[in-house]
Amino acid sequence: MRPSPSWLLQLAVTLLTAAFLIIPALQSILAGFTSNYFRGLSSGLTLKWLGEVWDLYAHSIFLSLWLAAACLFFTLVIGVPAAYALARNPGRLSRVLEEFISLPLAVPGLALALALLQLYGSMSGFRTSWAFILVGHVLYTLPFMVRAVLAVLLAMDLKTLEEGAATLGAAPWTRFRTVVVPNALPGILAGALTVVTLSIGEFNLTWMLHTPYLKTLPVGLADSYASMRLEIASAYTLVFFVMIVPLLVAMQWASDRARRITQ
């Protein structure tokens, strides 16, 4: 059977669209490996630019990883108990608090950064430390953690499960540790991956808060675009993708899994 003209047309459109999206990316990646972009591939392939990125921006990579880890730590320590408290006390006050925690979702990162600068800008020791950026990241990512955990907690009969554990002799902390947390794990995992991905990829807020000595991965990317030769910027893009894409995929997977559990 010969393919019909309409089928061929659809295929062509699909391929063109894909090419439209992928070719610039491929070109950019290739540029990162080309000795001289303006002379094209004929100038030869090299890993030199990747090495340069490493020399110039390794600290950005490490700062971002460190910030993400610290941010994850704080969102876990604050977010999981907060979600638990909200789930255990369904009432008007809880709904108000939930909205309040979610406020950073609606406020643009820039406005959040401005507020932080106005509030703490004069405390120069704090203002110039990585902890300042961390505060921004925690504020920005906390709602995602709380929401992800809360959704899973609300989907199970938390009260009765805990009462069951209590009649079996478990004190409140033991119940939290052995019943609440293990059953909330899919939500915690989804929240954790979201927090790490957002923290590593966050630009708006971080760009406002950063100092020349504290460039995170995306801020470094902008910096390389603005001030380095094209090959280095391209190589940097590659590094950025390699770090963020697996996280995005994992986050998607974990969120889908958590959503299946809550249904």
Binding site: E163, G164, A165, T167, G169, T178, V179, P182, L185
Partner: protein, 345 residues
Amino acid sequence: MTLIIKNASKTFADGTHALRPTSLTVGPGEILSLLGPSGCGKTTLLRIIAGLERPDPGGEIRFGNEDVTRLAVERRNVGMVFQSYALFPNMSVRGNVAYGLKVRKVSKAEQTRRVDEVLALCHLTDYANRPVTVLSGGQRQRVALARAVAPRPRILLLDEPLSALDAALRDSLRDELAAMLRQFQITAVFVTHDQVEAMSIADRVAVMSKGTLQQIGKPEELYRNPASPFVARFVGNAMPMMGQREPGRLILKGGELTLPNDAQPGQAFVRAENIHLDPEGALRGTIETVSFSVGHYRLGIRDVTDDILIATHPGRQAPRPGDTVRLRIAADDLLFLVDKNGQTT
């Protein structure tokens, strides 16, 4: 362990009087059933015993000589089977059953020994390593029971443990549960709204209505000597015989019944199994409905008294709707009851 409840009542924050002051004692190893319609306060009383709910001031709960009224749930050492079972979905059958022992820091070897023993008693040995999420309703119910008894609780509490199962399974599990409870020899309080369940599992039954204890006694006692119209209706489905009471007789729409000389005052009640079809019978009525149910006919008969009377008829042949029949009711089978609480239902 003896369970003593003194003057326990519960008023919820919204003002609901879920339980009026109630006192009762359950002897060591005894199985007591709390029987009553939905919303009468059974679960509330059970939760007060467990420590999941605090009684109003003045109430007291004792386990033997120990006053546990102010003791937290986790220190009371009670076993509870929840209506929804509340199994831990993150653990296997074995994990669920071992939980109470683990939390109490029982040694590993002892844990294994006790869990194996309880799993065997509850016919769960083959399922020990399955996740609880893949079990059937009946299996879950047994896991809930095994989990509750594994730590050797002082009192075992069961909240409608069979109500989440479908009817066929419920019948077969009822006797199995009764047998298992006897084996454990733990003082147990068993909540149900099903009279058959209460009668067949419990040593004594406490009938509740609207937050008050109506009567407590052996199943036969409740059936033969109900203390109030409510108990008579709820246990054994007694039906009122509305009519005019005169010395020595009861005049009904469908005829006259001679009463014994010592008949008590009060409303006359009769049960379906005590109404017999008899051509010589003193009463007359008209068949309204006929249905066949396991081994006998159920006849709905009108015009004997105000409401339709139900009679069970064991014969091979049944009259047909519209037929006029004569009925015999032995005077001894009539119950005369006075409503003390002003309740008629």
